[in-house]
């Protein structure tokens, strides 16, 4: 063994290297306050290791970035853990940067002859922040996409070179494939290489000048190995424990619904505004700061003031040489840190109190969970990318379309589809569970037909149908009521609602009876409505295929068509014929109203009376 070591040493000189690395003198012995630099080297190493492994599965393009990260997070063994460690180590690293800077500042380790090393440290800090910024975009989810847009737009307001600089960073005029390839090259290539070079120089200079021992020295000198190494190892382990805690937090704290590891939102979509866009928490103070600079003064908050502050920090080694300079430096650093903490807290507080923001966060969480379900469906992720899954999903688009186009008159379970109650009073039917048995039972209920949930808000409130329900049906005998029940089953079966498949199948004989009863003069429907017949004199809407996909699309396309309300149509626009909505969009709306989407069903219950 010794012979081998000697052989190796003669050829590499490793023993001396090891001695130099481990036997550095620590005046006054090992101390806990010296650990911060080592923890930063440790976190950087963790990022390099986890980053390399993530790199092996990541695909930077606008149709594959989210998809490959989804695959890492949800399909690959241990992927969530790897992503979680990488994500939260980045967070912890930013905290450690501040702690390291503070320790250096308090102990005066930035002063002559160590100015160069202080400046290199500041450059390293900028580079690490650059890693955070570029890494935030790479998953290409809504949050990263919109938050990073803010950052690159700020780049655009730099005087003179801003617009060109922005174009260079984006690889074009807008976000796309080349934004990702460039951000990825910066994140995994350029910035790490610069960091390694500068860090080498940083550590070399640190060794050259030695540690800045805390005075008074409370113990005899020690070597770096093993006492300080042990303290460093314990600190690194504590850092790792914190990272693992953050990664496993939903599991440790038993908070339901939380995904383990780093969050992955819905895929980026330039057409879907994202009101919950926020930078990562360690940039929140800058985000908050910008709120105080209205109009064109943005450049002050975004560039000039932060630039001046960084300038003063760069000058600290020189300021530190003056009488009281050191105190000024320490005081300024504490004030800045307090200011940053204050701004961060304000940003969080304002968001917490903003119902719109909270709603946006909830919607984002819904979309994220939904796209995951769709990606795991048998159809899977198409080559066009996962954003197309949500764009073609009735459950995602239906509520938004309803809120935009229908909710000024209609309601869905009392709200606008998205859970908000519109300011306009309800003046048309509540369409939750439209054409279901329960919904029809309400329509044909004398007590409910003229509420705003049915015809109450419309000009049909005094129409034939309402009169028929309130007079004729109200006077029904039990025998007629039983007939009506079967008619409801038959009419509802026309819709072929997914939620009623089994019931419709089970009660096929009753439905058949109901179909015949519909045409029976005794019940009276056929007097006004067409139903699998061609009665030229019918005055009410054609109920053939009532509530089916085709029927709904047709009535949304043009409710004033002779097949529906004709000239008696109330206020409803012809969404298709007037080209307010295109056919696929109307299809999404119809599918959503019918509960026709991939995955578990909401029960198609009628709105509360």
């Amino acid at each position: 063994m010794n012979a081998l070591k000697n052989w190796l040493d003669q050829r590499t000189g490793y023993k001396q290297l090891l001695r130099e690395a481990l036997l550095e003198n620590i005046p006054g012995g090992s101390r806990w306050r010296y650990i911060w630099g080592s923890t930063l080297v440790f976190t950087l190493t963790v990022q390099f290791i986890t980053g390399m492994f993530l790199w092996m599965s990541y695909s930077p393009s606008s149709t594959t970035a989210w998809e490959s990260v989804y695959y890492i997070q949800h399909e690959m063994s241990g992927g969530w853990l790897l992503r979680g460690i990488h994500h939260y180590t980045a967070s912890v690293m930013n905290v450690l940067l501040v702690l390291h800077l503070m320790q250096v500042m308090i102990d005066g380790a930035y002063k002559a002859p160590r100015e160069m090393n202080f400046w290199i440290g500041l450059l390293l800090m900028q580079l690490v922040l650059g890693l955070s910024l570029t890494g935030y975009l790479l998953p290409w989810d809504q949050k990263g996409y919109w938050a990073t847009k803010v950052a690159t737009n700020i780049l655009g307001i730099v005087p003179f070179i801003g617009p060109s600089l922005q174009k260079l960073v984006l690889g074009g005029t807008d976000y796309g494939h080349h934004t990702l390839t460039r951000f990825f090259a910066l994140h995994a290539g350029v910035l790490p290489a610069l960091i390694v070079m500068l860090l080498g120089f940083h550590i070399f200079l640190f060794r050259r000048h030695g540690i800045t021992a805390k005075q008074p020295r409370r113990a005899p000198d020690q070597k770096f190995w093993p006492d300080q190494v042990l303290k460093d190892a314990v600190a690194c382990l504590a850092v790792l424990a914190a990272v693992l805690f953050l990664t496993l937090r939903p599991w440790i704290l038993g908070t339901g619904g939380g995904e383990l590891g780093a969050e992955l939102g819905a895929p980026a979509d330039a057409a879907e505004a994202y009101a919950a866009a926020r930078p990562e928490w360690y940039f929140l103070f800058l985000f908050q700061f910008l709120k105080y600079f209205p109009g064109e003064s943005e450049i002050w908050g975004a560039i000039i003031i932060p630039g001046l502050i960084m300038g003063v920090i760069f000058l600290m080694p020189i300021l530190g040489g003056w009488r009281l300079g050191h105190r000024f430096n320490v005081g300024l650093l504490f004030a800045l840190t307090a200011g940053i903490a204050m701004l961060t807290w304000l940003a969080m507080q304002q968001d917490r109190r903003d119902p719109d923001y909270r709603a946006a966060v909830e919607e984002a969480a819904r979309d994220a969970a939904r796209v995951k379900l769709l990606a795991q469906s048998p159809a899977g992720i198409p080559p066009a990318g996962a954003a197309s899954l949500l764009r073609a999903d009735p459950l995602t688009q239906g509520p938004k379309l309803f809120a935009r186009n229908c909710a000024s008159c209609h309601r869905y379970d009392g709200h606008d589809g998205l859970g908000k109650v519109p300011t306009d009073p309800q003046s048309a039917a509540d369409l939750k569970g439209f054409a279901s048995r329960e919904w029809l039972a309400g329509l044909l209920d004398p007590a409910r037909v003229s509420t705003t949930n049915y015809f109450g808000g419309t000009k049909f409130a005094s129409g034939k149908m309402v009169k028929f329900v309130k007079k004729d049906i109200a006077a029904y005998t039990p025998d007629q009521r039983e007939k009506l029940r079967k008619v409801i089953l038959a009419l509802s079966a026309e819709a072929g609602l997914k939620a009623q498949w089994t019931a419709d199948e089970k009660e096929a004989p009753l439905i058949k009876e109901g179909q015949a009863l519909f045409k029976d003069d005794g019940v009276g429907c056929i007097e006004c409505h067409r139903f699998h017949n061609n009665d030229e004199d019918a005055t009410g809407p054609d109920l053939t295929g009532y509530g089916s996909r085709d029927w709904l699309i047709s009535i949304i396309t043009n409710p004033a068509h002779a097949r529906f309300y004709g000239k008696r149509n109330d206020r409803m626009p012809a969404f298709g014929d007037e080209q307010i909505l295109n056919p696929p969009t109307i299809g999404l709306l119809a599918d959503w109203l019918r509960g026709e989407w991939y995955g578990p069903q909401e029960t198609a219950a009628a709105p509360a009376p």
Binding site: K15, I72, K223, V229, L240, L244
Partner: protein, 182 residues
Amino acid sequence: MEQDELPPQPDRRGFLTRFFSVVLGAVAGLVPVGAGLAVFLDPLRRHAGGGDFIRVASVNALPDDGTPRKFPVITNLVDAWNKLPNVPVGAVYLRRIGGDKVQAFTVVCPHAGCPVDYKPALNSYLCPCHNSTFAMDGKVNNPKSPSARGLDELEVEIRDGKEIWIKFQNFRAGPAQKIPLA
């Protein structure tokens, strides 16, 4: 570590310090490596799909004289996160062997995986990479051929009298035995 090179620290506390320095440091370093390795090794727990019968062509498309013709194999492909319906995943040579009986070979050379060409002038398949040649029935027909086995034959089913369905599989390149990729 090179304890013998360091100043003597014979006491128990010194030993424990050194011991825990190394152990704790190793633990801190191994966790991210372990998470990374789990993801890195993920492909090992995935297995080749395939082995399903796929409709390739109609018997009518094959010449009566037994000359092989090449057809693409089109099926659904799962490529990591993407599911791609009806895309080409490979190609096969089909030829009649008497009446409506059909023989199928994958175009992949069993030597190193290059796609072989059918050369009518030579009446054999030639691999353009290392010059293996195969007879019409797929057997190696030149002893100097680097390939250790003949072309990989695929199972064929004729359905409805005319439809050619093949069990499409890939095999390990190299060995003399035909071993499906799992």
